[in-house]
């Protein structure tokens, strides 16, 4: 019988996909969120992690910024 799983479909570029996979493997086994890796640019994850992924990406992006002190 066909199985239907509810989740979030992520499409991004390759570095971001690797970043998300890395994030997933750094979490303990109970919190892993990737259900399936479709190919190098598409992932299927659990539905509730969208905010966590966005904030992790924002943190990663902010690590690269430098604000000149006034």
């Amino acid at each position: 019988m066909v199985n239907a799983t509810k989740g979030l479909f992520i499409s991004c570029d390759i570095p971001m996909a690797q970043f998300i996979i890395n994030l997933n493997s750094s979490l303990p086994a109970s919190q892993k969120f990737i259900i399936h890796v479709m190919d190098s640019t598409h992932l299927f994850v659990q539905p509730h992690v969208s905010e966590m992924i966005r904030s992790a990406i924002a943190d990663f992006r902010d690590q690269n910024s430098y604000e000149k002190p006034n």
Partner: protein, 528 residues
């Protein structure tokens, strides 16, 4: 002109009685529509749709459609379908007569410029323009941040609230912040901003009992006056005098007073009103130079420009006539968070380019423009869609059939035929195209405490209703049981409640309700 199109039919006909409005509307039509109107100007009977289509080449049919829709929307063309099911078009008779009159005898304005012996010190055109810009900037500064404006305009605070309605988010506890549309408003050019404010002003006029048709007709008439000439105030009607004061605050008009008379002088902002938004031949001087090292030099002393540039750049120095800033990643991220898009920033910089760089193509260096766009797309690297994954199909045919069905309904996001898996978009509630449900949800969430109190009040009111009903029933029974009769005739039915007593006027959520209840109870006790 969409405002004009949204007026009801009767008001439109009254508007068309004024030949200036007809001319202004003619100017605002798309070119093909203008041609149609002029060709039909002297034809009295209806023209069939087929003949109209013959005037156009085959590849212009979409423009033809657009022009016709516009004309019908403005009620310039009336469409009639006769018995043979053929459509034909006729020009609106009032419009036609007035436009013909205007063509034949050059219509004179209801007022003439005053002779120069009465008018003493007429400001020169430059002074007038500086005055208009100064007023407009003051108004804008007051709009976005009332603490920064040096002198306040005469608008009442309720009027300012109306203007701020779409642009600032009004919250009682925090200071009001600019919304996304507020930021985009600041980056628009002056004509577009002016029209936005005037649209708000006109749509608010109905609440103040001023007919919007009068407002629109006066504004359009104003745009035909000559800039810099004085016109006497006593040629205006009562309503127009009210409007003149508001328009002077916006910078459209300068008011002056002589010894005996007072007059008004329309500025360039007013006469540009009827010019269509796309061609702005009177572009004001640009002031921004953008260099390839991402630095910004703005030769302007106005606070408004400083505020706008601060939205997306980091300020380095500010001298009395120069503003130096740098476009950095962080400042742009700030701007993007506030809802400004890269295209708006780039078009703002291009439109306000200093004359020394304006001739260069492109006026904003390519590396700066590209980098701004790249930084914007850096924020959206990941796309997430709620979806369902379907796998373990019993057979390949079922999988193929399901795939085709999903493709038809445009719900297929991903399919993998080797492992027989597919992903479809997930939708729980049907899409609300108007977005009103979302607005309503936001409204409730934002005023949650008010709604909490309203909910409590409703429940309390219902509880007290029940109590009141029980009390009434008990008292009514008392009254009835006192009555016993030996009469032959059956007793007339006594009303349960004594009608001599005034029933309390019942209003849900009325705060005075408890005290009224007591008064009523007292009266009952005094009766029995």
């Amino acid at each position: 002109m969409d405002m004009v199109a949204s007026l009801p039919a009767m008001k439109l006909d009254r508007l068309y009685a004024n030949p200036f409005i007809c001319q202004a509307i003619l100017r605002s039509l798309p070119p093909l529509a203008k041609k149609y109107v002029l060709e039909m100007l002297y034809i009295d009977g209806p023209v069939s749709a087929k003949m109209l289509e013959e005037w156009v080449l085959a590849d212009g049919s979409s423009k033809h459609r657009i022009a016709l829709d516009r004309l019908i929307q403005l009620r310039i063309f009336t469409e009639t379908v006769d018995r043979k099911k053929e459509t034909s078009y006729r020009l609106n008779p009032t419009f036609q007569i007035n436009l013909r009159k205007h063509l034949i005898d050059r219509e004179v304005l209801p007022r003439e410029p005053m002779p120069s012996n009465i008018v003493a010190r007429l400001p020169s055109l430059e002074e007038l323009e500086a005055y208009a810009l100064g007023q407009w900037e003051c108004f804008l500064l007051q709009l976005i941040n009332s603490t920064q404006a040096e002198k306040l305009t005469n608008f009442s605070s309720s009027m300012m609230k109306v203007f701020q309605r779409g642009l600032l988010s009004q919250r009682e506890k925090e200071a009001s912040r600019l919304t996304e549309s507020g930021f985009q408003f600041l980056l628009m050019d002056t004509n577009a901003q002016l029209w936005y404010i005037i649209r708000e002003y006109i749509s608010n006029s109905e609440e103040r009992d001023i007919d919007p048709a009068d407002l629109i007709s006066f504004l359009l008439e104003l745009s035909f006056h000559i800039t810099g000439e004085a016109y006497n105030m006593n040629t205006l009607t009562e309503i127009q005098r009210h409007m003149i004061k508001d328009l002077a605050d916006l910078g459209l008009i300068k008011l002056q007073q002589g010894r005996k008379e007072s007059w008004f002088i329309p500025t360039k902002l007013a006469t540009n009103l009827s010019v269509s938004l796309t061609d702005s031949s009177s572009r004001k001087q640009g002031f921004v130079v953008v260099e390839t090292n991402f630095r910004l030099y703005a030769y302007s002393s106005s606070k408004l420009h400083c505020e706008i540039l601060r939205l997306f750049s980091r300020i380095e120095y500010q001298l009395p006539n120069l503003f130096v800033g740098a476009i950095t990643k962080e400042s742009l991220y700030n701007a993007f968070e506030n809802g400004i898009t890269a295209e708006q920033i780039i078009s703002f910089l291009q439109q306000n380019a200093h004359p020394r760089v304006a001739e260069r193509i492109p006026s904003v260096p390519e590396n700066v423009a590209d980098q701004i766009r790249l930084w914007e797309s850096d924020l959206n690297r990941v796309e997430m869609t709620p979806a369902h994954l379907y796998d373990e199909f019993p057979s390949r045919d079922v999988f193929e059939a399901a795939c085709d069905f999903a493709r038809e309904w445009c719900g297929l996001l991903w399919e993998d035929s080797k492992k027989m898996r597919m992903v479809l978009i997930y939708q729980d509630l049907p899409e609300d195209p108007t977005g009103r449900f979302h607005d309503f949800k936001q409204f409730v969430e934002s005023n949650f405490d008010v709604f909490k109190w309203i909910g409590l009040l409703i429940i309390l009111a219902q509880g007290s209703c029940i109590l009141l009903a029980m009390a009434l029933r008990a008292l009514g029974q008392n009254h009835g049981s006192n009555y016993y009769s030996d009469d032959e005739y059956p007793p007339a039915r006594l009303p349960l409640i004594n009608h001599n007593l005034q029933p309390p006027s019942f209003v849900v959520g009325d705060p005075h309700f408890p005290s009224k209840n007591d008064a009523w109870n007292v009266r009952i006790h005094s009766q029995t």
